[in-house]
Symmetry: C2
Subunit: 420 residues, 2 copies
């Protein structure tokens, strides 16, 4: 008999309370036990994964998806290392973020506590199962994992190893629950358990994320896409700008912090764009530009409005020549996705205006968009990148899986003292 | 012709961008102009309010609701003072909450920025219109106000005064927008504008809040009710505990931080409960207790499960005798609303266990539940109290209407330097 979605969620909540009450050292031991257990379970995990891959291949799944699905000893080792790394991060729970004594003597503290129960909704990559479990537990939470059906055997095997580790530490294994029922209706049921689930984090394609946002009654933190811009100002260091566009576009085009659109000041474009175009084409990048950009570079295709809105995730770059910073800002406001924007300039006032005028989660001044990542920004690890302007904005680490509450200590203070 | 909900929201978003770009001094001037304009508009506001009250009275609205609706010169002056007070608060926008230099030289800052557009959904009190507008603008946001239909004339008059002030400061008055169309369908439309509205804050009865939560596609921060507990430990200072129960229950029973349930350790109950009961009854409080509580106090009514779950908002107190801290914690976990819980004890270890085991937004040790309020906790002002475990938890001030984003400054750093 399979537990219902609600039963699984209730069990996870009870277990989450146990995790929340562990002290930092105990939680670290749990995470280390999880890493050890994953390492020991390499064989059953690879067996389960081989079944998943065989089933998917038989169903004619695309090679790119099969690659995301497939595990090998190197990928399992990376998963183990990831969990061990999270174990070593500083513990956000119990951190006092502010302390104030009021005139009436009350001592008021803001203290980080775990969120509670987090639902992770994701697609093919089985490593998310271990990564998300580790980060959620680090921050004292329980997690309900709803992966893709194509990875179900792998996810079960990973969760079984993690569960055994929890049990060996005296923690209810329901703290890491894999949703057994993968029907869409069950996902919707999970997303509507607003009395049990504190947060849903979808990770995957835009379709999945829109589905989650559409059906959720629980809070959702999401990012639809990363349409990241580089604006090369009139006053830019042109070699530096060249480094940024090459790094941003070509080092890993399929990720959300890759550049998708290049905006170039009209004063710079005639001499810089041809250099940039040559360097990018040498690396296989197709350029699609506005009329003025095409005047600077032979053979550049014409960019449509759709190109400016696109997250290509590929070696394609949209290009536009702008008259000034204001036009760049207006373009980003129209087409941007609130993810990451970059300015190359030596003019601090221009940089400040770029920062102030844009509402994106990450603004880079003279640095590559590819640093827009939890690890690179010093969070230690990342459970996602939020473009939801609430709670967390930008890369999310363990701290963003906690919430600050108030602890107030007094000596009998009351609002309205009784007359003696 | 009336603007559509979407048009109004788009206009508010454009105006919010203007507000976000003001510096702190300019925003303070806007708020001071708003206070001045409200003071000057006393006569038209009172006229409009008199129409609302007359209409409501003619429709046979209950006296308590009429009282919430009615304004007089004293209440208008309080509204003006409230806006002026918010003007003087420290500005959260632009605050650098963290700064770190990475080994690669990147300087990473977390910086507070406004949320964007906030929808306030509320009921009869017209003062919310001015309060919410002030706090939202202080934090650099635009606000769309959807008050109750019974207060529509008053809300329009208040918003007209605020809008004139904005205009006199060169800010688009759409930054403070009163939703013109009060049909339920229009509220639903507003709550589903997830590409425009960043946050909805409902304030009012549980019915309204559930309606908003049910229909929203935008993020919602809410609190359903405050079922606040006082636990009197075996080791409590008994005079202090008496002060806390009297202050918590009797000084303003109709507010959410009033006590609703008293839990008393069995060692203390026989001598302390009769004293507490006498003092409470003297102040008109009806007690409803468990069998053991009733053994301590003559004539105490029997508490049902519903009484333990109730937010009485009245001079009624549920009472239960518990064997120990664990039983108190179990009771609060079962019946609590995550709002505010109080422990009276001289034992620091017991207090620590109480804090650690409960997930409520505010925990008080030896202090009255009535301090669970933005002003009392040092926030300067309050836009609501969140029991949603995301973004803000507990009383929400101006800071909770902002979000932290990343600003990264480099000197040309890239993830993958090209070989020379």
């Amino acid at each position: 008999m399979t537990a219902t979605v609600r039963d699984q969620a209730l069990a996870c909540r009870a277990a989450a309370q146990q995790v929340a009450e562990l002290d930092a050292a105990a939680r670290t031991r749990v995470l280390e036990a999880m890493a050890d257990a994953l390492a020991r379970a390499e064989a059953p995990i690879l067996d389960a994964n081989a079944q998943d891959v065989a089933t998917a291949a038989a169903r004619g799944v695309a090679p790119a998806l099969l690659d995301r699905l497939a595990l090998d000893p190197v990928r399992v080792a990376a998963m183990v290392a990831g969990v061990r790394h999270v174990a070593g991060l500083s513990d956000p729970v119990g951190e006092v973020t502010r302390r104030e004594q009021r005139p009436n003597g009350l001592v008021i503290e803001r203290v980080r506590v775990p969120l509670g129960v987090i639902a992770m909704i994701y697609e093919a990559r089985p490593n998310v199962t271990a990564d998300a479990a580790a980060l959620c537990l680090k921050a004292g939470n329980g997690v309900i994992l709803r992966g893709g059906s194509e990875a179900q055997q792998s996810n079960r095997a990973i969760a079984a190893a993690l569960g055994a580790a929890l049990q060996s530490c005296g923690v209810d294994p329901a703290a890491v629950s894999v949703l057994e029922d993968l029907r869409r209706d069950s996902m919707i049921e999970l997303l509507q358990l607003s009395d049990i689930v504190d947060l849903a984090i979808p990770r995957g394609g835009e379709g999945l994320i829109r589905f989650v946002a559409e059906h959720a009654r629980v809070p959702v933190i999401k990012h639809y896409k990363g349409v990241c811009h580089l604006y090369v100002d009139a006053d830019a260091d042109e070699d530096l700008a060249l480094d940024l566009v090459i790094d941003g576009k070509t080092t890993r085009p399929a990720v959300c912090n890759a550049l998708e659109t290049l905006l170039v000041h009209a004063d710079v474009a005639p001499r810089w764009l041809p250099r940039a175009a040559a360097a990018l084409r040498e690396r296989g990048v197709e350029l699609r530009g506005c009329a003025r950009a095409r005047e600077c570079v032979d053979g550049m295709g014409l960019a449509t409005r759709d190109d400016y809105a696109a997250e290509f995730l590929d070696l394609i770059l949209a290009v536009r020549v702008v008259d000034d910073l204001d036009e760049a800002i207006a373009h980003i406001r129209e087409f941007g996705s609130d993810h990451t924007e970059v300015i190359a300039t030596r003019d601090a006032a221009q940089a400040q205006r770029f920062i102030r005028s844009l509402r994106s989660a990450v603004i880079m001044v003279n640095a590559s968009s590819r640093f827009s990542d939890g690890g690179e920004l010093g969070l230690g690890a990342e459970i996602g990148i939020s473009t939801t302007r609430l709670h967390a904005y930008g890369p999310m680490g363990a701290e963003s899986l906690t919430i600050e509450r108030y602890v107030v200590r007094g000596e009998g203070q009351v609002r309205h003292p009784r007359s003696a």
